[in-house]
């Protein structure tokens, strides 16, 4: 399970057909499949660190990035993942094209589907959009974030980062802190961490905590220091600055005072605590630079690297299923 340097044959041996045609939710995998994906991703991490990164697992396949919402890092991550696996990658930023002309999501999907892509990566501002789209296309759909619902590959890369830092995920105490209500990252992480056997806590002001979150398989805290007490991982969520207008939090300085993570508050966590953030960060709002940039505690740069590997694992696995059907 530790990171060694496997070759391409090793990655091939680890590649398994994904259990479903689409990857829409972290709950689409069971514990065994999640572990298999993490094992596979581990292999890609090693390969990605070599000079020759190009593989042919997706040779001849077409990957389409369909982003209805701007996202530099997720789109780049999927693009790189696809290219390293040998796929033809096409990026569609739909925000500025046909949707503005009144074309519906389904029209766009049907049009793109006619171009015979094999893998479709979708990001959309509405919860459930990826699921809707998956019903209308013949290819595999990967949810790269649908509204406030899920972002399953983010949860996978977070789990990979944790597993590489601690050697395991089961038994870890993970505190997810901040704007849980609007966070698809939080929802996917709660789901996957529960599958992998971690103890999950959700921490944030009541105005940013969705009703019923205590039934998600997580303990809810409204006090940051109590919420991260003894935690192995503190995952900070991005606070959208437009939340100030919605009367959800009074100001960035008050938010930072009570919910922002700094060195002092981090003392409440366990000794070997690791800090994570899905990015992009609002420094001085939810997290202090002092913590974010400290390589001894921060996994934030690792997360970006793991993102490419985790997505390669998902793409390879989905493509392996395509091979069988």
């Amino acid at each position: 399970m530790t990171a060694f340097a496997p070759g391409i044959d090793d990655v091939r041996a680890r590649t398994f057909p994904f259990p479903r045609r689409h990857f829409l939710s972290a709950m689409d995998v069971n514990v065994v499949e999640a572990q298999q994906l993490l094992d596979l991703a581990d292999g890609f991490v090693a390969l990605n660190r070599q000079t020759t990164k190009k593989l042919d697992l997706l040779k001849g396949r077409t990957l389409m990035n369909l982003f209805f919402e701007n996202s530099t890092r997720t789109q780049a991550s999927f693009e790189l993942a696809g290219k390293r696996l040998g796929a033809d990658v096409m990026n569609m930023s739909v925000k500025t094209s046909s949707v503005a002309k009144g074309e519906t999501l389904i029209d766009t999907a049907v049009t793109l589907n006619a171009m015979q892509p094999d893998l479709l990566v979708v990001r959309h501002a509405s919860s459930g959009a990826a699921a809707l789209l998956s019903q209308k296309v013949g290819c595999s759909v990967i949810n790269a974030g649908d509204g406030q619902h899920e972002h399953p590959t983010q949860a996978l890369l977070d789990a990979l980062s944790m597993r590489r830092a601690f050697g395991h995920v089961a038994g870890l105490t993970v505190a997810i802190c901040g704007d849980v209500m609007h966070s698809r990252v939080a929802r996917s992480n709660v789901n996957l961490l529960n599958i992998l056997g971690a103890e999950v806590r959700l921490v944030g002001p009541p105005t940013l905590m969705p009703a019923g979150a205590e039934h998600w398989g997580a303990t809810v805290y409204h006090d940051l220091e109590k919420g991260i007490a003894g935690a192995d991982v503190v995952m900070m969520l991005r606070l959208q600055l437009e939340r100030m207008q919605g009367a959800l939090v009074p100001s960035t300085r008050e938010y930072f005072r009570f919910w922002g993570l700094d060195r002092e508050k981090l003392k409440a966590a366990s000794g070997g605590v690791k800090v994570m953030h899905p990015g992009p960060m609002n420094r001085g709002v939810e997290i202090d630079s002092d913590v974010a940039d400290d390589p001894a505690v921060s996994l934030i740069q690792d997360q970006v690297e793991m993102g490419v590997a985790a997505r390669m694992a998902v793409l390879a696995s989905l493509a392996a299923r395509l091979d069988n059907h």
Partner: protein, 433 residues
């Protein structure tokens, strides 16, 4: 033109909420009215030239009266026209319905009332009545021409799905409408709490990541509306009560003697929030579906008479408005054709006597509107439905008569097949054998 032959319905199960009779009997219709009713047994002395229909024990009841139906006429005829809605109504045993004023243009002026009622006169499949807007353009700012619309024939005023936010405006609408004995229908909701919401706040909506508002918003809105009704003495029609909390507020107001009538939609009596499932937009409604506890409380309130009237909340929307991401999809479902079998579920489940359920879709709305229909009495209009109560039906949205097929009941297995529908003595619907 030769007068139509009188019709005798023999061997029926008569259900008449006015007299409280539910039992075997027969009924004769001549011209546009019911002329004779026999309770307990068939007519044995029928003579002359008349058509005899053997009901084979099927339920013969007053035709249903639906207080809340949207069409697309004028403005969006591709969704539904008055005629297609009337045909859907006939297929569902609904003999009268009230169209809502949120059309394009809105029914906020007597000429539009006149337009609709003129179109309605040429349609035999159902009696179409018209509600007017409470405020101009349904904007909640200026009072609409309530008096003139009354003269033109409109039956109540409502801003439909738009709550009147400004309490002073709602107060003035109520006080003004009272002068003309016009009831004011109002959606009970605190619009601030539910702004942008597509679902009811709770664990389920939270997991799906849907923008949601608390069910409590309904109680807050209703408490205000009830207080204003008490203040002005106006007749208030609570437009679709859905939550247990609001039902308690309603019970308190009724106990104090506030002039209030409450409706529930058949959708909220039939589904809960879990029916949204995996973002099923055909279950996206306004107000959104509630918890199962709320649904159970609503069924109990219907059985106890706290909720007076059941509506179909018929809201046709074409597929392109439904096949969208959940929060972008148009809310609402068609309901005219499924109202009766969906209501009968609660009879078959033993939750309420048949006659009480029927009252909520016949006599109670008739009384609210001041109509002489909704009862089986000699002299009453011959608006009737004949229904095989036990017949199984599987709702197939594609086979609905309505122009739009957005039924939340698609695929549901129900019991109760409408066999015949009679409007003003004319057979307007007959089920295929």
């Amino acid at each position: 033109m030769a007068r139509a032959r009188p019709i005798a319905f023999q061997n029926a199960r008569l259900v008449d909420p006015e007299s409280g009779y539910d039992g075997p009997g027969a009924l004769v219709v001549s011209g546009e009215t019911i002329v004779d009713v026999s309770k307990g047994k068939d007519f044995s002395n029928l003579s002359g030239d008349l058509q005899v229909i053997d009901c084979a024990g099927g339920m013969l009841a007053p035709g249903l009266i639906d207080l809340r139906v949207k069409t697309g006429e004028p403005g969006a005829e591709t969704r539904e026209t008055l005629r297609s809605a009337a045909q859907a109504a006939a297929a569902g045993g609904v003999t009268s319905f009230v169209v809502q004023p949120d059309t394009d243009p809105a029914v906020d002026d007597p000429s539009v009332v006149d337009f609709i009622l003129r179109r309605a006169r040429d349609i035999e499949a159902a009696r179409i009545l018209c509600a007017g807007a409470a405020t101009r353009r349904l904007k909640g700012e200026q009072i609409a021409e309530i008096g003139l619309m009354r003269e033109a024939g409109c039956v109540y005023v409502t801003d439909v799905d738009h709550a009147i936010v400004d309490s002073r405006v709602l107060r003035r609408v109520m006080a003004y409408a009272k002068t003309f004995d016009m009831a004011v229908a109002h959606r009970p909701v605190d619009p601030w709490l539910t702004r942008g919401a597509a679902a009811t706040e709770g664990e389920f909506a939270g997991r799906l990541g849907l923008p949601s508002g608390p069910a409590m918003a309904e109680r807050i809105g209703l408490e205000r509306d009830l207080a204003l009704a008490e203040l002005t003495g106006a007749r208030l029609l609570v437009d679709q009560i859905t939550s247990a909390g609001a039902l308690e507020a309603l019970a308190r107001a009724k106990a104090r003697g506030v002039k209030v009538t409450a409706t529930a939609s058949i959708n909220h009596l039939s589904f809960n929030e879990l029916d949204i499932g995996d973002y099923r937009t055909f279950a996206k409604l306004d107000p959104p579906l509630r918890s199962e506890d709320d649904r159970q409380a609503l069924i109990d309130a219907l059985a106890s008479g706290l909720v007076d009237i059941v509506v179909s909340a018929h809201a046709p929307a074409p597929a392109e408005d439904k096949r969208l991401p959940y929060d972008e999809a148009t809310p609402g479902g068609v309901g005219l054709e499924t109202l009766l079998p969906a209501l009968l579920v609660h009879y078959h489940d033993g939750r309420a006597p048949l006659i009480d359920l029927l009252r909520a879709v016949t006599l109670a709305p008739a009384t609210f509107l001041g109509l002489s229909s909704g009862r089986l009495t000699p002299g009453a209009p011959a608006d009737l439905v004949l229904c095989d109560l036990g017949a199984p039906v599987i709702i197939d949205a594609d086979k609905l008569v309505s122009k739009s097929k957005n039924s939340p009941f698609d695929g549901r297995r129900l019991q109760g097949q409408v066999l015949r529908t009679v409007v003003a003595g004319k057979m307007v619907y007959r089920a295929a054998e």
